[in-house]
Amino acid sequence: MTQPQRKPRVAVHKFSSCDGCQLALLNLGATLLDVVERVDFVHFVEMGPVDEEAEVDIAIVEGSISTPEEAQRIREVRARSKYLIAIGACATSGGIQALRNLNRAPEWTSAVYASPEYISILDKVTPISANVRVDLELWGCPVNAHQVLSAIRALLFGVVPPQNHDKLCTECKRLGVVCMMVARDLPCMGPVTQTGCGVICPRQGRDCYACYGPAENANAPSLARHLEAGGMDRADVRRRFLSINNAAPAFAVVGKNEDTEAARDRDA
């Protein structure tokens, strides 16, 4: 292995988010001290370094785009970065806050804020890929350290990071975890959700709630029909899909038609 001429330059940028995905790095413990020996964090506000305008090899982007300022800033980040990695549900699908796309945000603003004229937001919350080209998406709410470190490491070696969009079910089976849907009759989202979390919910005896987003070839309408046939209320089924990754197209289809109709009714 040849040593690079200089340490790769990495920037971590935050948009609309809870900060939880950056913690995948800040929670590394002593490993973080090893990581900073291999890469140079030139911009990582929460850790300390601030140089928003630096040209970097890798930009790690957390959060969704929800204000005019953010829409402008992400374009600048893209222009200054060789690789752009979107991390977490907000950056990859829009996150939980994209639920406001299904409602009327201006009314929400005046319900939460006494002076709505002070608040400037875009009509829709969007993932990073709806705004700029994204080289790699790491899904999950939150992403975990393993995902982020293996992506950085692969890029340092100049290879495409391995991606696994298998369904959670496959990992459950491999680990021998009791099936929440078959054995417990719970509305588990494992059949449509991508793996990566470590199967933490089924291991705790609860059904997956899809925080890692749609798996490849996820058939959400089919699972929705199955849940309804099992006696679950339609509104409850829709809320299962319209949650953390509500704006991911593979999940949004389940709720879309009714919401558009409802919105049309309201506007009429």
Binding site: K14, F15, S16, S17, C18, D19, G20, C21, L23, A24, L26, N27, G29, A30, L33, V36, F41, V45, E46, M47, G48, P49, V50, E52, E53, S66, T67, E70, G95, I96, Q97, L99, R100, N103, W108, T109, A111, V112, Y113, A114, S115, Y118, I119, I121, C141, P142, N144, C197, G198, I200, C201, R203, Q204, G205, R206, Y209, C211, R239, S243, I244
Partner: protein, 432 residues
């Protein structure tokens, strides 16, 4: 009238806080005439997107308000909803919730001391630079932080947005072998926590006495985490469901976070306020270790916040050990929940201060309305007041780089969680 000369500094963001914001100062003839902490974290409308959701979805949704203190949001919410439904989760759940919260305190307070605050007092730009000279101290902090994450993982599967909590209790009980492994790691870490308290007290912390009202929960027998009444250093003792009688929020143009006032005045929440009001609730070994530092508490020096945080790390470790020492597998990990319509309140102690919530449900347990008052909103007015007093005490003639550094240090004492409430720090000084 003098003309206002406006200077903008090329300092894009305030580093080492959770989120970003900006600060504007108005200075006239050596006097600070205006301080505006500008918080412009994009609003995510949690209170609205919770409406219509079922009670059982709430713990997973409110966790997403904050990646650093998801447990706090979950805890205030489940207590409020259980009070509406008349659910009594029983002693096992109560103990496990304290344990979970101890994990979050360890994680968040260690992160703040080492990665965010300590570099200020040792003259480094960040913890990575500090680790060159203070490697053992930084590693010690990271190990304590890791232990906090382990505790959360034991009960929640992961440390950020843990999945173990439900209304009524927990989805599962940790196994005895896992508990026993973690217990011995905590025992081994105890000397680190004791040393950490002494180390924070040995830092060259500035002297700065200010008048402020401390507000925190107070419980008849425990250092407060999940339960208690709202207490104040002025003698206030208020049930949490009466909070709105004396505390009010308002909205100002320069911030997307709401401002809270107590009887129309700024007040302090967080580790320093908690310790000031609950010294007598510390176990003897924690209090004894604190007394050996010689730092007098109650304290009105905001810089003693870092010592208070270390004391709470020590406390969280001792309390977690106590709970794990007594651990037994329960008959049931959660109480049965029977939803009903009503209004309920939850107030718990997030690492950075009191987190108050009000929930209303319909008969099926669906959320009718939610109101969430995060600690950073409560501290926002106090931070501005502190900045004003601090700058008047030390003078505003210093170069702007020095002023900015001082202001950042002042703000950091509060560990503002700007995702819960905020974007930092463009310092703008308007000199008249």
């Amino acid at each position: 009238m003098t003309e206002t000369r406006e200077m903008k500094m090329k300092v894009p963001v305030l580093a080492r806080v959770e989120g970003e914001g900006a600060l504007e100062l108005d200075v006239d003839g050596g006097r600070v005439t205006g301080v505006r902490l500008r918080i412009f974290e994009p609003p995510r409308f949690f209170e609205k997107l919770l409406e219509g959701r079922s009670y059982h979805e709430v713990p997973d949704i409110v966790a997403r308000i904050c990646g650093i203190c998801p447990v706090a949001y979950q805890m205030s919410a489940v207590h409020a909803l259980e009070s509406i439904f008349g659910t009594d989760p029983g002693p096992w759940v109560r103990e496990m919730r304290r344990l979970l919260y101890c994990g979050e305190w360890l994680e968040s307070q260690s992160l703040h001391i080492h990665l965010l605050a300590a570099p200020d007092f040792l003259g480094f730009p960040n913890a990575v630079a500090m680790a060159g000279q203070y490697r053992d101290e930084v590693r010690r902090g990271m190990e304590l932080q890791a232990l906090g994450n382990e505790i959360i993982r034991l009960l929640g599967g992961r440390s950020v947005h843990p999945v173990g909590v439900c209304v009524g209790g927990f989805y599962h009980a940790p196994g005895v072998a896992d508990v026993s492994r973690l217990r011995s790691r905590l025992h081994d870490a105890l000397p680190m926590a004791e040393e950490l308290v002494q180390w924070t007290a040995s830092l060259a912390l500035p002297h700065s006495a200010q008048a402020f009202t401390s507000v925190s929960l107070r419980h008849p027998g425990e250092y407060p985490l999940n339960e208690g009444a709202v207490a104040g250093s002025d003698g206030l003792h208020l049930p949490i469901d009466a909070y709105e009688e004396l505390f009010a929020e308002s909205h100002v143009a320069h911030s997307t976070a709401l401002y809270s006032h107590y009887r129309g005045r700024p007040y302090l929440v967080g580790p320093l306020a908690r310790l000031n009001l609950n010294l007598d609730r510390l176990p003897p070994q924690v209090r004894g270790n604190l007394e050996r530092t010689g730092v007098p508490f109650p304290s009105h020096n905001m810089y003693h916040s870092i010592v208070a945080r270390a004391v709470e790390i020590h406390y969280a470790l001792v309390e977690a050990m106590r709970i794990l020492d007594n651990y037994r597998l329960p008959e049931a990990t959660r109480a049965e929940v029977r939803p009903r319509a009503g209004v309920g309140f939850g107030c718990t102690e997030a690492p950075r201060g009191m987190l108050w919530q009000r929930w209303e449900t319909d008969a099926a347990g669906n959320i009718v309305s939610a109101r969430i008052v995060p600690p950073t909103s409560q501290n926002q007015a106090r931070i501005e007041e502190d900045l004003r007093q601090h700058l008047e005490a030390v003078g505003v003639d210093a170069p702007e780089e020095v002023l900015r550094q001082r202001c950042e240090t002042v703000v950091r004492n509060y560990d503002p969680c700007i995702s819960c409430a905020t974007h930092f720090l463009k310092l703008k000084v308007n000199r008249a």
